[in-house]
Amino acid sequence: MLAYAIKRFGVSILVAITVSIVTFTLLRLSGDPAVAMAGEGATAADVEYIRKHYGFDRSLLVQYSDWAAKALRGDFGESYYMKVKVSEVLFERLPVTMTLGALALTFAVLLSIPLGVLAAIRPNSLIDRFALTLAVVGQALPSFFFALILILFLGVKWRLLPISGSESWLNFIMPAIALGYYATPAFMRLTRAGMLDVLASDYIRTARAKGLRPLTVLFKHALRNAIIPVVSLAAVQLGFMLGGSIVIETIFSLNGVGRLAWQSIQRSDFEMMQAIVLVVACLYIVLTYIADLLNAYLDPRIRVG
């Protein structure tokens, strides 16, 4: 187990470094940062000044190693637009996005796992069809459009929930639903397929033949094994949600990293954009790492093979 954990850790670090190099290069090559920062109507001298001041005139390799060395110490430079330390703003906004992600994941899991289990117990029944319809519809509804529908009904027509801001926990409900429902089809399908597989296996037949209570068989014997792949999916989905929060946070004016990313893109705030992409990517890497370890712990075949 330890050897597996160390090996996976090494790979994760390598992935993080590669992601930072690729995104740094991508952002630098996509446009001239000095021109973007100077904005419209800037003179050539202004652009030249910014280029010198921020060191954009140096080679890409020098720029990257300089940036990476600082980033390792938690210093992502200063926001060009806000004139404050990037790390300060980032860590102030991060809890909002983490809360949103956790709530969205909770919503997705609470909705999809019971439905997936019920669908697997009675394949082709009414509830199975209902779950399938929900999955098919869920996958086809773009989250920003679903968010607008939620605002229209829950926010404006029935006045149940606030439609923007991040002052109270009520502000998080609609964004969490809008962000989380998109992940439900995947969870539901995986739970259903896993349960169908497990329920047809020999050890479940044995457990039933022993005369164990049906609910004990279902939860203690079947679900426990069927849920293993769902655990790693949950980590991956949470990672996607952090990235996808840019759309949802922008719609609901939720002051998290997603909205910050959106604002930074509009303001050509390079340092901020780079830091956000790296932090979101690293969160994803950490999440998948945890999921891998959890999987290896739950399923010994993974860590041996």
């Binding site: 086809a140 920003f144 990313a261 992409v277």
Partner: protein, 303 residues
Amino acid sequence: MAVTHTDSRLPSAEEILEPSPAAKLRRRMLGHVGITLGGGVFLVIVAMALLAPWIAPHDPYLQDLAHRLIPPIWHEKGTWEHVLGTDQFGRDYLSRIIYGARISLLIGIAAMLISGIIGTAMGVVAGYFGGRIDMAITFVITTRLAMPVILIALAVVALIGSSLQIVILVLGFLIWDRFAVVMRSATQQVRNLDYVAAAQAAGCSTLRIILTEIMPNVVNSLIVVATVEVAHAVILEAALSFLGLGVQPPLPSWGLMISEGKGLMFFLPWVIAIPGTALFLLILSVNMLGDGMRDVTAPENRN
């Protein structure tokens, strides 16, 4: 008419009556609700896109400020002149929806083709050769998965400047991961089968084995992933355009139309409901088609 069989090598009656595998597949496809329904809706949208200049009642770009925000026909004040109403510039909504199908389909299919070529090449090579090559490609896939798609797409499009071509290229170069993952495992499954070994023994070149022995046997998975990615690209384009960093006005992108109507949605919900429904139907039909293809081509996965 009576036919007498004298040659015993001729097929038996059962064999003649037995439909060919292709015919069986066709029959299964036509009997599948998802494929017929999804395929039907998809064909209608494709027809809309192809025939746009002939079926659109108005010029989708023509502004008519005297006739702004006419409601669609099911409202009291709706007119047959503008069946789906007009937008805030007086442009005919139905015509914009019809032309919008072109944008969604073009971006969806083009981005899928680019990502499909990249992902399939990587997946097949990794799956076929295995070993160090597989390790390297798996690492590239893992790295790509760690990069947040929407965030990077938005940042790159904002820096380069947004246009239809840029959106297609950025999406195409970002969403190849699923192709690579699925093609890799599909190739691993057929790599060790006898007919591949036979081709190797016969001295076929690697390229030939991949193209003529491996590819035909992974094509079913390829089609399923392709549909998923068309839907994925359509959603991403809509989201980018909604945020103002995808297709630029005055192009009638459905995502852009939702974005433009956002401010009016509290009073006139149909302004966002119409392009939203169009988007929903397109993605739904593509997904149903893909799910159906998976059902009929892999009968063992039907449950």
